[in-house]
């Protein structure tokens, strides 16, 4: 187990360097000069542009810029934006917001998704199963902005149950609406996955054994069936956490959430290389760690799996 984790952690190093280098290169081959663009339609004077280019190291070769960036990064310095703010400061504003939103969304999709899936799976072929199927189909086929505006119209404008926009991301009530919209798509997948594995595992040998042993139904479904059916769902949720932490540009935009998606979107518009690479670096780390965590969870869920 320990050796397995160590090996996985070591494998992360080349993946990490490779992805950051790729992003770095991609951001820097975009055409145009972001420094010049700061003046908008106004003329920029060349002396100042030169001074700023020098300050941000843009006058060096691309490879040197990358090496400098990585050197700073290993000392915990994410660099500065063209506007003169610390990237680490920008990220420390955006990440907690997105994390809170992701937590809300994940909770909703776990509870409702697994619940619906289990229900449909246990009643496979019945009306409930068809109902869940139709619901998930509708949700999957609906674009997120349609869902966003529709949800706001119904729950905020018409019914008045929830606030329409997020002003304060620490207020759970305000995060419910965007969290719900964000959860919807994944919720449908979770429900479908759970339903399928539930329906399959119902026919498994260990289920028959459990029934034959005379175990109460609650224990059969709640422990034996649920635990064994969760493996594909956990895999899906694991990758989904990565997506959620990466921020959701559309949802964040609709509900005024000042999160990572919004930060990335703005940074891309301004070709703010340091911010983009900084955010992506964090995201790469998060996704690598979550993948590892998910792989380790398999062993917990299924004792037959052992890591060497």
């Amino acid at each position: 187990m320990g050796r397995y984790v160590a090996r996985r952690l070591l494998q992360m190093i080349p993946v990490f360097i490779g992805t950051t280098l790729l992003i770095f290169l991609m951001v820097h081959v975009l055409p145009g000069d972001p420094i010049r663009a700061m003046w908008g339609d106004k003329a920029a004077d060349p002396a100042q542009v030169a001074a700023l280019r020098h300050e941000f190291g843009l006058d060096k070769s691309l490879l040197w810029q990358y090496i400098d960036y990585m050197k700073d990064l290993f000392q915990g310095d994410f660099g500065k934006t063209f506007g003169g703010r610390q990237v680490s400061e920008e990220m420390s504003m955006a990440f907690p917001v997105t994390l809170r939103l992701a937590a809300v969304a994940l909770t909703i999709e776990m509870i409702i998704g697994i619940g619906l899936g289990a229900w449909a799976g246990l009643k496979a072929g019945k009306a409930v199963d068809t109902g869940v199927l139709i619901f998930t189909l509708i949700v999957i086929s609906m674009p997120v902005f349609v869902m966003g505006y529709l949800a706001r119209f119904i729950f905020a404008d018409e019914l008045g149950w929830l606030p329409p926009n997020v002003q304060d991301s620490e207020d759970l009530q305000q995060l419910l609406l965007p969290g719900f919209v964000l959860a919807m798509l994944s919720l449908a997948y979770v429900a479908r996955l759970t339903r399928t594995t539930f329906a399959e595992n119902l026919r498994a040998d260990y289920m028959r054994t459990a029934v034959a042993k005379g175990l109460p139904r609650r224990r059969i479904v709640g422990v034996h069936l649920l635990r064994n059916s969760l493996i594909p769902v956990i895999t899906f949720l694991g990758t989904d956490i990565g997506t959620l932490v990466g921020g959701a540009v559309v949802t964040e935009g609709i509900f005024n959430v000042q999160g990572v998606g919004n930060l990335l979107f703005k940074a891309l518009g301004q070709r703010e290389g340091t911010t983009i690479v900084g955010v992506v670096t964090i995201l790469v780390l998060v996704i690598l760690l979550i993948n590892l965590l998910v792989d380790l969870l398999y062993a917990v869920l299924d004792p037959r799996i052992r890591y060497v």
Binding site: P34, A37, D41, M93, D157, D168, G253, F255
Partner: protein, 550 residues
């Protein structure tokens, strides 16, 4: 979908002494104080939409409107522009005198203080201007000081500065300083209403980082708290001595990612003021807000500029071609259908905000800016037709949804020339790349150019754009007669004479048409029933201190 007028059920109690308790509190914790959510309980606070400025709020480094909004509230300069007339009125300036239009003596009023108690003196101005001009400080508005003598030493075109301060600035005593310009510039005092010219307290230089966290100015408001990405709370200063004391208790600038979201919050009663009504809502805004919708001229003009470095477009011989294209554009129809009257067809190269006294003269362009397809076709044919039978209009595709109107302009040209393929839009992916192509003289046909004035003067609409080698002369047009008239105007001692000379220069633009004036842009705003006396100034920024709440 457009009946959203229900109150949000979220109610929070209004804690008293909110602003005071919040001073210095940063980041996320500040939001615990829900004073702004009280919606009509007579708190006297305006809740206004905002976007986080991308850079720290140094006055000489802020060139976008969101940061400018804050500076407008927390600073006062020598002059201020009357939101009604655009006239530059004395604010901190007691008097500004000159005998030769080049050497100026500035005397400031007594009794003004910064929010931290420090007196505003001549030195506060001179230090601030020297800071703004010095290349080492990399201030984006440094060019505002380019007319002051010694600018080339502190801000050379290449290499390091050879002086730290502008030789043209001298402090004479506590209330007086002198300015020597590099050339005659009769209307120079009227430029001093811009934010780049505000005074700065000593703390700006001695405790720079702390100042940036919480800027201290000499204006009617002070920053009570700022949580980035959420809200900046500004409160009125009790000790403010100026004549423009606010008629409200303060302003909460709330950050919105999107103007649509802000607009829905205005409708839901969660916000009092949006100063950008999104294009999608323009159709309904009258029905939604009635007369609480403002749509008035801003100091912005949009043009199509010709690449005068390209032989296909250059020279007086092609003037007919350029004029012909101008006459082929149905400005009225485009401003009505695409912009829903948030822009007005242009018939000179300035802006209505200048008013006639300031040099705005509709119709100065004459026939050349009037839609007349038959004559347009004749003119273009007489000039040998479009170069190669085709033309493109280049624009940047990432911001400002330019595609719609560029396509409409092309349709208008195509209809005039009875050809489907004569004119097509040519998008460039990003604004940064667009600027690069412009600077690299790579434009092969007319291209979009927008100009937002720095100060409401006719000089600012002409000299930076069309003077030979001027900083924003992106079409690289040059005409000795035009330059001569501009010089003459700058040397004139009376404002009226200066304006006449500038207008004479403008007539040369009408003949040569190096840039086609398209339309004047408006500023728009919408506000809630809680507010009254809402007006926008010439820069489309709400005049916050005049707004009454409740």
């Amino acid at each position: 979908m457009r009946t959203a007028s229900h109150r949000s059920p979220i109610r929070r109690t209004l804690s008293t002494g909110c602003a005071g308790a919040l001073v210095g509190v940063v980041a996320l914790s500040a939001t615990a104080c829900g004073g702004g959510d009280s919606g009509g309980s007579g708190s006297g606070i305006i809740r206004s939409s905002w976007g986080d400025p991308p850079n720290p709020l140094e006055p000489a480094n802020t060139n976008e409107v969101q940061g400018g909004k804050v500076l407008d509230m927390i600073f006062r300069g020598l002059k201020t522009y009357d939101p009604e007339t655009g006239e530059a009125k004395d604010a901190l300036a007691d008097r500004i005198t000159t005998s030769d239009q080049r050497n100026y003596t500035v005397t400031i009023k007594r009794g003004h203080r910064f929010a931290n108690g420090e007196k505003v003196t001549a030195r506060s101005f001179v230090d601030a201007w020297n800071y703004g001009a010095l290349l080492d400080n990399k201030q984006r508005n440094a060019y505002f000081f380019e007319y002051i003598e010694g600018y080339d030493k502190v801000h050379p075109l290449s290499g390091s500065p050879t002086a730290k301060t502008l030789s043209g600035l001298r402090v004479k005593d506590d209330r007086t300083f002198t300015v020597r310009l590099t050339q005659k510039f009769s209307t120079w005092p009227k430029t001093l209403g811009y934010n780049a010219y505000v005074p700065l307290p000593r703390a700006f230089f001695t405790h720079h980082a702390a100042w940036l966290k919480r800027p201290v100015g000499n204006g009617p408001y002070e920053v009570a708290s700022y949580s980035k990405g959420a809200v900046m709370k500004l409160r009125t200063r009790d000790d403010y001595k100026g004549p423009d004391k606010p008629r409200n208790k303060g302003v909460d600038l709330r950050v919105y990612t999107d103007s649509n979201t802000a607009y829905t919050d205005l409708q839901a009663g969660n916000l009092d003021l949006v100063d950008d009504v999104p294009a999608q809502q323009l159709k309904f805004v009258r029905a939604d807000l009635g007369n609480r919708y403002i749509n008035q001229p801003a100091g912005i003009i949009q043009t199509l500029t010709f690449p005068m470095y390209d032989s296909a477009w250059r020279g007086p011989a092609k003037a007919k071609l350029r004029r012909g294209i101008s006459m082929a554009i149905n400005r009225k129809q485009i401003t009505e259908r695409i912009f829903r009257n948030t822009r007005t067809p242009a018939s000179d190269w300035t802006s209505p905000v200048l008013r006639r006294e300031g040099g705005y003269r509709p119709g100065l362009c004459g026939n050349a800016c009037a839609y007349d397809p038959a004559r347009a076709r004749k003119l273009i044919e007489a000039a040998g037709g479009l170069p190669g039978g085709r033309m493109t209009i280049t624009y940047n595709a990432d911001t400002g949804s330019h595609k719609d109107w560029v396509d409409a302009v092309c349709n208008s040209v195509n209809a005039t020339l009875h050809s489907d393929r004569a004119c097509v839009g040519k998008p460039v992916g990003t604004f940064a790349d667009y600027r690069n192509k412009m600077a690299g003289k790579q434009m092969t046909g007319p291209f979009r150019a927008g100009w937002q004035m720095d100060y409401p003067l006719i000089q600012n609409f002409l000299q930076p754009l069309y003077y030979t080698g001027a900083s924003s002369n992106d079409g690289h047009w040059s005409d000795p007669a035009f330059d001569k008239l501009v010089n003459q105007a700058n040397a004139a001692s009376a404002t009226g004479a200066a304006v006449t000379s500038f207008q004479d220069a403008e007539k040369i633009l009408a003949e040569q048409m190096p840039a086609i004036p398209l339309w004047y842009q408006n500023g728009s705003a919408g506000y809630s029933e809680r507010l009254s006396d809402v007006v926008l100034n010439q820069f489309s920024v709400p005049v916050y201190h005049q707004i009454e709440v409740g």
